[in-house]
């Protein structure tokens, strides 16, 4: 019995799942259906079904793509901690992070596949290289890193399925596991490259003063680390509550949460200085008129200060770095969701601000170029919904069928893997004992 407790609980599968689980799956399936129909409409009719224009050629899907890539950043961060820096205890959450990472990356690639005008040529970046293009580098890195994530997950899949009965696969999984430090190192390099290059995609464009900035790549990677870890924390805590399991020991959750807090603080620090240099202290015509346009036509200022800075970084940093709130799972989930929301708002603002402000290339003095406006079409929303539901579905299935949480415990059994320094049982409500035992029995 003790041995079983040490290796954690088996994933529950779907047999005997509650009606709430099936309702959740039904909702996700409905969203997936809507998404599939929308994607079909795009593939049949082309991008004319979007509200994008030649003056504003990127919109909701690019926001979805950038957000999912960032939310997948927990994978490289935590596997680097475990396999490169040797912090083995984080293995309790690293697998889930890698799973969330793969979901993020596949979702992003799905969004990009729909977003390019010629999806039938999706493989062209592999054949035709423009090594000067940050977008080429991103494409290649994203594909290679997805491969890394799959390699990292193979041992998990073998361990969780019937493949574990075959000596060959057991050996394969074992050997792959021994390779993990190398794989994690490659993954770290690839991630650092393309996560920051995504910011460079905007940061290198001199023609758009609102984008042109050397801090964009660093801001992107810092926010991705914070939001990627937040995504792992939020999914882990919430699904643990729903399944009445302590999927990851509380002290691990707390220290990962603290790491996310420092990451979001670093992001905030650079963000404020970047704003000061390019905006507050800058009186270049492009910046000033751009800010005026954004203030007049969009809620940019409110969403920047409230969505990105205060509730997207400052408050969650406080919640994650203050000892008392960090020990409360509800506060951690709240902070994680705020960081995620702040990130999505940031990616939307980043994409749209550069396009809403029109290019001005005339030597004349009139405002001849109209401000560009955009609201996604129904089909665009449909595709986005489908991708989000895909992500939710794959995560749900992963939690149900794979041993993503090797240290999972019944929620009412704090003994075995729990770390000793736990002075007082914290604010988390004691789970009803009878329910927990029922789930354990299943």
């Amino acid at each position: 019995m003790t041995e079983h407790a040490a290796t954690g609980l088996k994933p529950p599968g779907v047999r005997g799942a509650s009606w709430r689980f099936w309702l959740w799956v039904a909702l996700l399936s409905a969203g997936l259906g809507i998404g599939l129909i929308s994607i079909l409409m795009v593939l049949l009719n082309g991008l004319g079904v979007t509200n994008l224009t030649d003056h504003l050629p990127w919109g909701l899907w690019i926001t979805v793509d950038l957000s999912f890539i960032a939310l997948g950043a927990g994978g490289f961060t935590l596997s680097a901690m475990v396999y490169i820096f040797g912090l083995k205890r984080y293995e309790a959450i690293a697998r889930a992070a890698i799973w969330v990472g793969l979901i993020g990356y596949t979702s992003a690639m799905l969004a990009l596949f729909v977003d390019i005008g010629r999806p039938d040529r999706f493989y062209h970046p592999m054949l035709y290289w423009n090594v000067h293009s940050v977008l080429w580098e991103i494409t290649i890195c994203v594909m290679l890193y997805s491969t890394v994530l799959i390699i990292e997950l193979v041992p998990v899949v073998i361990e969780s399925t019937r493949l574990n009965n075959s000596p060959f696969f057991v050996k394969l999984g074992h050997n792959l596991h021994r390779l993990m430090p190398v794989v994690a190192f490659v993954g770290l390099g690839l991630s650092l490259l393309h996560q920051s290059s995504l910011g460079a995609t905007y940061g290198i464009l001199t023609a758009r003063p609102f984008w042109y900035s050397p801090s964009a790549p660093v801001l992107f990677i810092l926010s991705a680390i914070a939001a990627g870890i937040s995504a792992v924390l939020a999914t882990t805590i919430v699904s643990g509550r729903l399944m009445r399991r302590q999927l990851v020991p509380k002290d691990i959750i707390a220290s990962v949460a603290r790491f996310a807090g420092f990451a979001v603080l670093a992001y905030l620090y650079l963000k404020i200085w970047s704003w000061a240099a390019t905006n507050y202290y800058s009186h270049t015509p492009g910046q000033v008129s751009g800010q005026e346009i954004l203030n007049q036509f969009t809620p940019y200022s409110y969403t920047f200060w409230l969505g990105e800075v205060v509730f997207g970084a400052l408050v969650p940093a406080f919640l994650l770095l203050w000892n008392r709130t960090r020990r409360n799972p509800y506060a951690v989930v709240l902070a994680a969701l705020m960081i995620i929301a702040g990130l999505v708002i940031n990616r939307w603002n980043m994409t749209l601000s550069g396009f809403v402000i029109p290019l001005d290339w005339s030597p004349g003095v009139l405002d001849v170029f109209p401000v560009n406006t955009y609201f996604p079409s129904l089909v665009e929303w449909g595709v986005a919904l489908g991708i989000v539901c895909y992500a939710g579905m794959v995560y749900t299935l992963g939690v149900r069928f794979l041993t993503l949480y090797p240290n999972a415990q019944p929620m009412d059994a704090p003994a075995a893997a729990e770390a000793p320094p736990e002075p007082e049982p914290d604010a988390g409500p004691p789970a009803p004992a009878d329910q927990a035992t029922v789930t354990t029995a299943v």
Partner: protein, 297 residues
């Protein structure tokens, strides 16, 4: 430190075992859990980073040559040592805003009305004089669209023309995002069954229409230039080898030619008259020069 502590108790084990025992358990345990990098790991990392740097430094130059340097070229014209650089001069003091060049381009290059390669805007000088500004692709010397394209579907020819390979383009639209002049047009939908409204009054299509899902752009009527040169004609002088927008201009406000040939019309105008280029501050080095409207310079 650790080694010393380990050896002393081993030697003294026989005589006095208890005293050194209580100390060790605290320190190492804490360290093992909290330190992110041990000293050995840190040194290994340093050595690794150093080796990477050395490798990168030695490989940098051969790699750079292999990759052909940065796009655009350092001379600002991107055509390197080529003796040809196609350029256009547009005289804003002459232009009357008739849009004939816009229509001729739409017919000749078979563009859509919503996706014209050559457009006109009406603007004013600081003194309040209205002027008409037409804008083809400026065929930049340092073309931002070329360096951002992930698949190299847009590229620069030796004669300075920024071209599109419609068979390579994946339709990501990053080039549209990067172009400071909004000169690029995306094919959002399938081509309408409707005929081109500018045909045949303003010309006949000389290039096939582009498929849905790719970005397209002005080529300075490259089909005319290439065919004209093959037939021994001089672009900018012989109409058959000259862009349609230049030929049709009723007030002769557009000139075309090889700016590297000092005897060409464009080279003479640029060397004798004050000209401006759009957004020179960006360093894109456009190859379309404008003679300013009255009262601007």
């Amino acid at each position: 430190m650790d080694e010393q502590q380990n050896t002393t108790p081993a030697q003294a084990a026989e005589t006095t075992p208890p005293p050194p025992a209580p100390q060790p358990p605290k320190k190492p345990d804490l360290k093992a859990n909290t330190s992110i990098l041990s000293r050995r790991e840190f040194i290994t990392l340093l050595i690794g980073a150093g080796a990477t740097l050395v490798a990168a430094a030695t490989l940098a130059e051969p790699l750079a040559t292999m990759l052909g340097g940065l796009p655009g070229g350092a001379d600002g014209h991107g055509s390197g040592n080529s003796a040809v650089q196609w350029a256009m001069v547009i005289d804003l003091s002459k232009c009357v805003g008739c849009k004939y060049c816009v229509y001729a381009c739409q017919a000749t290059n078979d563009t859509r009305t919503t996706g014209r390669w050559n457009i006109m805007i009406t603007d004013q000088t600081a003194q309040g004089n209205t002027f008409y500004l037409t804008r083809p692709c400026l065929q930049c010397g340092n073309a931002p669209c070329v360096s951002v394209c992930p698949v190299g579907a847009t590229y620069k020819r030796a004669d300075g023309l920024v071209m599109m390979d419609y068979d390579k383009c994946i339709g990501c639209r990053y080039c549209q995002t990067a172009c400071p002049y909004g000169a690029r047009v995306f094919n959002w939908t399938d081509r309408e069954a409707l005929p081109n409204p500018m045909v045949p009054e303003w010309g006949t299509p000389e290039v096939p229409p582009r498929p849905r899902g790719v970005v397209e752009k002005c080529t300075f009527c490259v089909q005319r230039i290439d065919q004209g040169l093959a037939n021994g004609l001089t672009p900018g002088v012989d109409p058959a080898a000259t862009p349609a927008c230049v030929n049709i201009c009723p007030v002769t406000a557009r000139f075309f030619g090889n700016i590297k040939n000092p005897n060409s019309t464009v080279a003479r105008i640029v060397s004798t008259r004050p000209t401006l280029r759009l957004r020179e501050d960006l360093g894109t080095e456009p190859n379309v020069y404008y003679i300013p409207p009255e009262g601007m310079i």
